[in-house]
Subunit: 274 residues, 2 copies
Amino acid sequence: MVGVGMIGGSIALAAKSCGAAKSVIGIGRAAQRLEQAHRCGIIDEGFVDLAAGVRRAELVVFCTPVDRIAAGVREAAGSCQNGALITDAGSVKACIANELASGLPRGVEFVGSHPLAGSEQQGFQHADGRLFENKMCVVTPLATSSRVAVDRIAAFWEALGSKVVEMSPEAHDAALAETSHLPHLTAAALAATLSSENRPLAASGFRDTTRIASGDPDLWTAIFLGNRDSVLASLTKYDGLLAEFRRAIEHGDARRLQELLAAAKANREGNGLQ
Amino acid sequence: MVGVGMIGGSIALAAKSCGAAKSVIGIGRAAQRLEQAHRCGIIDEGFVDLAAGVRRAELVVFCTPVDRIAAGVREAAGSCQNGALITDAGSVKACIANELASGLPRGVEFVGSHPLAGSEQQGFQHADGRLFENKMCVVTPLATSSRVAVDRIAAFWEALGSKVVEMSPEAHDAALAETSHLPHLTAAALAATLSSENRPLAASGFRDTTRIASGDPDLWTAIFLGNRDSVLASLTKYDGLLAEFRRAIEHGDARRLQELLAAAKANREGNGLQ
């Protein structure tokens, strides 16, 4: 487990409890944090040195910010044993796939993953061994990935309780721009809009609509820049819809506004989101 | 209680349980629904005729869509007993205040209210007698309101467990445009943006960010048009912030993007919203 935060800690707990891992090695930059994670029973051993930490691993999972995954995978691959498999939990996939397109040392494979689970909370103290149960996990093979490697990664997430869907890194990024990255952007802009004098009047609607804006700014900067084109395309689509709402309000067009609101509601609920 | 839906039903339950009302008369358009609300113990009596329903009331609370409140209040006032007080629970206040500026029959007063509680759910079956506990309630006196009437309305909401703040109808509308109406608009536009093929990949972030977009389209059409100028002003402010995020992403400006995200997070959390 490279990066023992909320996601890394949750994968560690889940993998141990379902038997997908006999032992979990945590690799991180702060020895003290690793020691705490060990005392909390989240990891069995901690290493600050990546090469040393991955040496005995059968499966290496990168849970670091997306802009550090590709370089980390390449570095780790040089120290992994033959037959080791590497995956990640990052929210963007194509830039990582491109950086790793030239291949890894023989006997080591990388297959990307993105478990659609998490929260705005940070740190292993928020880890939850049941976080992945009944959640989707997108597995994004490289063009060079072997079937056996992809199947092993899919089986890992299924063991943690997730439903696995396979997509290309590019298709993943286009879809997630719309379902995850755009919502983060609109939530952050909304949170930024709030004037301090109006804060006492912000109620549950505001709270929920902006919840994800409490996510880690560094993580999300890397996600937006790692998926720039798709995020901008989704933002343009959103801007167009928001402009339609604006026009209906400007024109006092009740019928059009009602149609737009009803279509939005139906689109949301068509998703089974209640 | 004029309008026995989620809010009207919740006020009825809360007022009975805290002793603020000895008996609750429900007034609605559908006799069958009133009968159901009666059987559920939400109201003590039901009337489809407004004049007949308000005749014995000491306090009349309008929980109807905002575009029907002012006319309803005027009609009810003609049938109320001397000393009766009328309030509402609508999300916009200035247009109602303006329509009622010419005054009501002697002996009957209207003071607007907006309890900042609720959800996207509709119907008295979702009523909750503790909905108003520890919530804000904005009370918006008219220029002609007597102190005693304003104090009685404030005391009513305090009895239901709310914290009352007094504002002018205009100040309320400007503030709520930012804290409630704009979030609804951005959530609806976001819900509308989702492509059907990406629906399976929408997770908890998307769900929460668009939750309020499941609100009643008719109610919200009336709110947006009833508070048109303030909603458009808030939307313009939001558009400006969203454009700043866009520019930072377009330019690949990690430092600026990180600053914007950190400011949004801090602004949200400065509100005590976790």
